[in-house]
């Protein structure tokens, strides 16, 4: 008889999540952003040059209002055209809509890379601190407590400035400085969380049983304990993702982010002078984009926590 696939606790959780329609809609919205980011990334790598992503193309004169017709002569041509934009144009006449879409790619990639960096640092440190306790725990807790007392924005700014041109000796692009700055300063929360979860679980009987089988400490931490806290990592990831997007926006707003590609933060930054001239659409577009992904991810993250948390506990 064909072996039946076991019904894991994950499958249970996912099944319960599917039933929550509103959460699934939010997931869909988040997915749209990710897919956009992915397509833009591929577009740049493979040079497909899809129309929607040509953010650098001048589509009209400077500061055209959204959904209003205008007539203009493109550079290098003599004939005038009548055009119409959904979200208006910016100072250089580029499409705000296209820039907003491109901003999704910037934000998603920064948030993803920063998430991975912070997970890569926070999870192992937290696991080691929680498992071994004693002086190892003391050192790691001292370290992250100290780091955590420095106000987050100031810390990120400091890292972004220092890492501007090179990181620890290697030359890097501006955007990498952003990933590193955010990632290297945001691991404290997940570290604390994982440490707590490991402390909770390390006296469990299956840990003792694994030791009785002859497992080494490293194997117990990474193969036995961490899979039991995956759900915590995933929930934390989905809820923190939004804060990484916000961090990138703030950095760009302060001029420390990527300057040569569009990003939502840069658009909001530019709005400082634009609003005086009644040009509201740049800021509105960026704000709306940020609003939807923040809201969607928060709702989805909440639903994820409800569905995964109680059942995956051992009882």
């Amino acid at each position: 008889m064909r072996p039946v696939k076991g019904r894991s606790l994950w499958a249970d959780g996912i099944r319960r999540l599917r039933k929550r329609n509103f959460a699934m809609i939010c997931f869909g919205i988040v997915l749209v952003y990710f897919i956009l980011a992915g397509i833009i990334f591929l577009d740049e790598v493979f040079n497909w040059n899809l129309k929607a992503f040509q953010w650098n193309e001048i589509v009209g004169p400077s500061y055209q209002a959204p959904m209003a017709e205008y007539t203009w002569t493109p550079e290098g041509q003599t004939e005038s055209r009548t055009d119409w934009t959904l979200f208006g144009t910016d100072f250089l006449g580029r499409s705000t809509l296209r820039k907003t879409i491109y901003g999704a790619k910037t934000s998603v990639t920064v948030a993803l890379c920063a998430s991975f960096i912070s997970l890569l640092i926070g999870v192992p440190l937290g696991a080691i601190a929680g498992y071994f306790r004693g002086w190892v725990d003391d050192v790691i807790v001292w370290f992250y407590t100290t780091l955590g007392t420095i106000p987050y924005i100031l810390l990120v700014m400091a890292f972004a400035v220092v890492l501007r041109e090179n990181a620890f000796g290697w030359e890097i692009r501006g955007i990498t400085a952003v990933y590193l700055a955010i990632g290297l300063t945001s691991w404290v929360g997940i570290c604390r969380l994982i440490r707590g979860e490991i402390i909770k679980r390390k006296e469990g009987e299956y840990v003792l049983a694994a030791r009785a089988l002859g497992c080494s400490n490293g194997r117990i931490i990474f193969k036995h304990l961490l899979p039991n806290v995956f759900h915590v990592i995933i929930i934390n990831f989905s809820l923190r993702f939004v804060s990484f997007i916000h961090a990138e926006v703030i950095l760009s707003f302060l001029g420390l982010g990527e300057t040569d590609k569009p990003s939502w933060g840069a658009m909001i930054d530019a709005a400082r002078t634009e609003l005086a001239r009644n040009v509201w659409w740049e800021m509105a577009a960026a704000t709306v984009a940020i609003f939807f992904i923040s809201l969607a991810l928060n709702i989805f993250g909440d639903a994820l926590r409800d569905c995964l948390d109680p059942k995956l506990r051992t009882d």
Partner: protein, 349 residues
């Protein structure tokens, strides 16, 4: 006795203490027993008497802090286990000595399939490829009596019943053919019919694998059915050791006598069951002298029992006890005093 011992496991004068923040807890004191090859030794006692700590001491799984083996020797297959490094002990655990626990639900990792966990047990100690390990896992599940193992190998622990999970634990423990299986109350969490099946399974596997079993339990019925030899523990010390039959026929220690008397008997007319008055002393506050004396019908008011701790002596061939007033104890004690060179410590036969 320093004669060459052909026992598989030999424990002498084992003491394990826990140094907690408030107190020193002497969980196991001066424990001596042997387990020969292919035999089942039952370690009996109430909760908190030190049975589990003894078993964990053998496996060197006592966490430091706060616990520490402070004295004694543990010899397995002629080698001292207390001298081994942690890496050497990891080779032995699961491989030569295996352990199964009381609660099968919490002893299995909830996020992995049972097949995955048995495969891990195999791969830890044997060089087998993934598919070889998988077929060994299925075969082990068949051996422990799980029906349709091909299908069940992909199930998760929460999808199985208690008896099934315990069988999986036994499969994990036995897959590397250990010489000694330590079973810490393996059936306490199961209902009686399943209990009988699991114990029968263990007896059968013991015969086919020629394995010794150290069976920790508080159930004298289980002892009567399954044990060859018995060690009765009370308050961190051994009260009595004997072969199973003689223990039930003729208990020497008042504690054992009290335990057997309190067992309800089918057909006997009784208004109230006999009890041992009082309760087990707290390990941070043991009574002076013989630890059982406050509850003992013989030693309650005797100054000798209040004052001195009786050592474990072999009063009859193969039978040891630690009671000043056990038959034959006085003479044996005088003998031991007279010739101090001969250690009077007792080894279970």
């Amino acid at each position: 006795m320093t004669e060459t011992n052909n026992s598989l496991l030999s424990i002498k004068n084992l003491s394990t203490h826990f140094y907690t923040e408030q107190d020193l807890v002497k969980a196991v004191q001066d424990v001596n027993f042997d387990i020969p090859e292919g035999r089942t030794l039952a370690v009996v006692g109430e909760s908190g008497c030190g049975k589990s700590v003894t078993a964990l001491s053998v496996m060197r799984l006592i966490p430091w802090p706060p616990g520490k083996i402070v004295a004694g020797t543990i010899t397995f297959h002629g080698q001292s286990l207390l001298d081994k490094t942690e890496a050497q002990m990891r080779q032995i655990r699961g491989n030569d000595i295996a352990m199964i626990f009381q609660e099968p639900m919490t002893s299995l990792n909830p996020v992995f399939t049972v097949g995955n966990q048995i495969v891990e047990a195999v791969k830890l100690h044997q060089h087998k490829s993934g598919s070889e390990a998988h077929s060994i896992a299925v075969e082990m599940m068949r051996k422990v009596g799980i029906a349709d193992p091909q299908r069940r190998v992909n199930e998760y622990p929460h999808q199985m019943s208690g008896g099934m999970r315990q069988r999986v634990m036994i499969a994990m423990a036995l897959c590397c053919d250990p010489k000694l299986l330590i079973a810490d109350e393996p059936t306490t969490a199961l209902d009686v019919t399943i209990q009988a099946q699991i114990l029968e399974l263990l007896r059968g596997l013991q015969r086919t694998h020629n394995m010794s079993i150290m069976l920790i339990t508080h159930d004298l019925g289980v002892v009567a059915e399954n044990a060859d030899d018995v060690v009765v523990m009370y308050a961190s010390r051994i009260a009595e050791t004997a072969a199973a039959g003689p223990l039930f026929e003729n208990p020497l220690h008042p504690y054992t006598q009290g335990l057997l008397k309190s067992l309800p008997r089918l057909g006997a007319k009784k208004d109230r069951l006999d009890v041992i008055p009082g309760s087990v002393p707290s390990p941070v506050n043991f009574p002076s002298g013989c630890k059982f004396h406050p509850r003992c019908p013989i030693g309650k008011d005797k100054p000798k029992c209040q004052g001195d701790e009786p050592p474990l002596l072999e009063v009859l061939p193969g039978r040891c006890t630690a009671c000043w007033f056990a038959p034959g104890y006085e003479e044996k004690y005088k003998e031991m005093q007279a010739s101090p060179g001969v250690p009077g410590r007792c080894d279970a036969e």
